[in-house]
């Protein structure tokens, strides 16, 4: 007979879970494995609230098995290490992101692209190799294979570092892969939420000229004054959009609703690249002339491999980059999810797990 979440592993754990597709979260007792020879145990201090968490608790993608404990942007302190662990010691500040295991053998794993491993184990809502389900960071502690644990640079504040583990790497990875790194080039960032605001910060740190493309003027002052964007383009202003045609080398499109690609493709120069990191549920319209005429491309990207996630964190340490966050208590999570659904956050909620997760 299948064991209950509380009994399937030896160590008792506690977190908040959604139990049905209302997506409402509430206290939840479960369990985690013992710390194995290759494992690191971390006490979770903070966990970011990613929009994917919201999609999963509501089963928007049809892949959720309940109960589900979300959370894949967690930072904490190492409390235990296995005998094979050399990279970390007790007390280290570490993070865990979107995946906690992979096959380690396929071509993608061999190239440090565990995020594209067909057998990747996601931090939550995913079958482990032992058949049990993974539970994420809205919880008191995690046990993770050392390969999937990241060092947080000493100089970065922990709470504001949490979103780097998903939002950060999700924009950093394609910026590197698609070559959006030449100083002086012009980057457009469509959508100014959790992903978008990170793309602006990375873009500026890389020496790019950055234009935020947004559907309303609401975020303009912040984009320019606080985040350092050079320009702000309102996508619903036809004249401004026309004046910006053919001016951008790259665009990171973070918009997760269905939206027209044609106006964005028009903003690109010859050989321009538009990378979608938002995940609209339905297909977008792509008139082929829009990419044939200027030899443009539309590319996808899905968070990042572990090596490049560490690279991204080190880059953030060097440039003092963290997310803009609103810190919340665990029991405010349902209100936060409702506000997130309305994009009412500047720009990531982070749960103060250690100080507010209590039985």
């Amino acid at each position: 007979m299948a064991k209950s979440p509380e009994n399937e592993h030896p160590q008792k754990a506690f977190g908040w879970a959604a139990r049905d597709n209302s997506g409402i979260l509430s206290p939840f007792d479960f369990s985690r494995r013992e710390n194995g020879n290759d494992d690191v145990t971390l006490k979770i201090l903070y966990c970011g609230v990613c929009h994917s968490d919201l999609h999963i608790v509501k089963n928007d993608w049809g892949v959720t098995t309940y109960p589900v404990v979300p959370g894949h942007e967690m930072v904490g302190l190492v409390t235990k290490i296995g005998s094979n662990v050399k990279k970390f010691k007790v007390g280290d500040k570490v993070g865990v992101g979107v995946i906690v295991d992979s096959c380690k053998n396929c071509e993608n794993c061999q190239q440090d692209l565990q995020n594209y491993c067909p057998k990747a184990v996601f931090t939550y809502n995913s079958p482990n190799f032992d058949g049990t389900k993974t539970y994420g960071g809205y919880s008191d502690f995690m046990v993770v294979h050392q390969q999937f644990v990241l060092q947080i640079p000493e100089n970065l504040p922990l709470d504001a570092s949490a979103p780097l583990l998903c939002a950060g790497i999700t924009v950093y990875s394609p910026m590197m892969y698609y070559g959006m790194t030449q100083p002086g080039k012009h980057l457009g960032v469509a959508g100014l939420g959790g992903l978008g605001h990170m793309a602006v910060k990375f873009g500026k740190a890389l020496g790019l000229k950055v234009t935020v493309i947004s559907s309303s003027t609401r975020k303009q002052a912040e984009a320019i004054n606080k985040l350092g964007a050079d320009f702000f383009l309102v996508s619903s202003d036809p004249e401004k959009m026309k004046a910006a045609i053919g001016t951008m080398d790259y665009i990171i499109d973070t918009v997760s609703a269905v939206h027209p690609l044609v106006p964005l493709l028009g903003l690109l120069k010859l050989n321009g690249k538009l990378v979608t990191v938002g995940l609209p549920e339905k297909p977008l319209e792509l008139p082929i002339f829009s990419i044939v005429k200027g030899r443009k491309l539309v590319g996808g990207s899905d968070f990042g491999g572990i090596k490049e996630t560490q690279e991204m964190l080190d880059f953030c340490g060097k440039h003092n980059i963290t997310a803009e966050i609103e810190l919340i208590k665990m029991d405010q999570i349902n209100t936060a999810m409702a506000r997130l659904a309305n994009s009412d956050v500047r720009y990531r909620f982070v749960i103060d797990v250690a100080n507010s997760l209590s039985k």
Binding site: N108, L113, Y116, P174, Y177, G246, L261, L270, T276, V277, G278, L279, P280, E281, P283, L284, E285, L286, P287, I288, F289, S290, I291, V292, K293, G294, R295, K296, L297, V298, G299, G300, S301, D302
Partner: protein, 360 residues
């Protein structure tokens, strides 16, 4: 008073033109400019029939200017050169493709990408620098700036080489640019027509493994035995498509009708590239999840710059690559256009202009 096509330029010319969106072509007298200092004048020997000629003749893209003389896969023999011309001399065999002009000063032009210049001038149906409309290769002679004239090595069979000037460069350019022209890659070629069959030949010459993806099972034998493809997938055969998922480094999609690209994205390995060179009139559906989850991309490409067109011709000569053609007389053109509309050609019609274009 506006001059007639016959009077606009000093040198009389003769060809076949469409005069309205029926697309029906008939004899047409017009004129071309004199040979300028940088110009090359040549007698046209052969001209390939590109599907774009059909689209343009029938105004399917909405920007045709009538009367319209199509033809941008033009091969001939030089009869006169301007005094600043260095590349070719009288008697040389040369070709002109899709372009006859551009601004030469923008970022694209200075990077040998005249095909992406916003002021580019197409070989036909485009406003030339003097304001007159350009007329293409279904005609007795051409005059073009040396920059837009490519040399044909002696060994090349001219009729079969003509389609390289558009079909050839249209697939060669993205194979190189998107890094798909490398030994050991597995490439899919969708559609086996003028573009597709040349893509198979180039891809094999690059050392790739090639799979042709087609709706017609009848093309399998030719694809594998004649063109050298390694395998053949029937796109509506679910089992075959399923078995091939995640196996291709790149796909060149030459299909110009609206079609689903989700199955093609599925055929790509992670980090794979789907390059569109056909030009469907209506938008396609682009599913985002499969792109994201596999870090795949959908990209476009159009023709090629002049430097890479010459490079492509030289590569083709070296590897003995030419198109598979059906040579036709000029007065067969309307029948050929109908057959082309039905996909009834293996794989490019080429008009024997030199021997059959006769001014009555």
């Amino acid at each position: 008073m506006t001059k007639s096509p016959e009077e606009r330029q000093p040198v009389k010319a003769f060809g076949w033109a469409a005069t309205d969106p029926s697309g029906h072509l008939s004899p047409f007298n017009f004129s071309r400019r004199e040979t300028g200092d940088c110009d090359v004048r040549f007698k046209v020997l052969y001209c390939g029939i590109c599907h774009s000629d059909l689209h343009a003749a029938k105004n399917e893209w909405g920007f045709s200017i009538y009367p319209l003389v199509p033809g941008h896969e033009i091969v001939g023999e030089v009869t006169e050169v301007g005094n600043q011309v260095k590349k070719v001399k009288v008697g040389d065999k040369v070709g002109v493709g899709c372009l006859v002009g551009a601004c030469h000063s923008c970022h694209d032009c200075t990077n040998d990408l005249e095909n992406y210049c916003s002021k580019r001038i197409f070989t036909y149906c485009s406003k030339g620098s003097d304001g007159t409309v350009t007329y293409g290769g279904y005609s007795d002679h051409m005059v073009a700036d040396e920059r837009y004239v490519v040399n044909f090595p002696e060994s090349m069979p001219l009729a079969a080489a003509a389609p390289l000037l558009c079909a050839g460069i249209t697939v060669y350019s993205p194979l190189k640019y998107y890094g798909l022209g490398e030994p050991g890659k597995h490439l899919g070629i969708v559609g086996l027509g003028g573009l597709g069959h040349v893509a198979v030949k180039f891809a094999k010459a690059f050392g790739a493994k090639v799979t042709v993806i087609s709706t017609s099972p009848s093309k399998k034998e030719e694809a594998v035995n004649h063109l050298g493809a390694d395998s053949f997938l029937v796109s509506h055969d679910q089992d075959q498509m399923q078995a091939a998922m995640g196996t291709m480094d790149g796909i060149i999609d030459t299909v110009s009708a609206v079609h689903p690209i989700l199955p093609l994205i599925g055929l790509l390995k992670t980090h794979g590239k789907l390059v569109m060179v056909g030009a469907p009139e209506k938008p396609l559906e682009l599913p985002i999840f499969p792109l994201a989850l596999g870090r795949k991309m959908v990209a476009g490409s159009a023709m090629g710059g002049m430097k890479e067109t010459q490079e492509m011709i030289n590569f083709a000569a070296k590897h003995k690559i030419a198109a598979d053609v059906e040579v036709i007389p000029m007065d067969y053109i309307n029948t050929a256009m109908e057959r082309l509309a039905n996909g009834d050609v293996r794989y490019r019609f080429v008009i024997d202009i030199g021997n059959t274009l006769v001014n009555p």
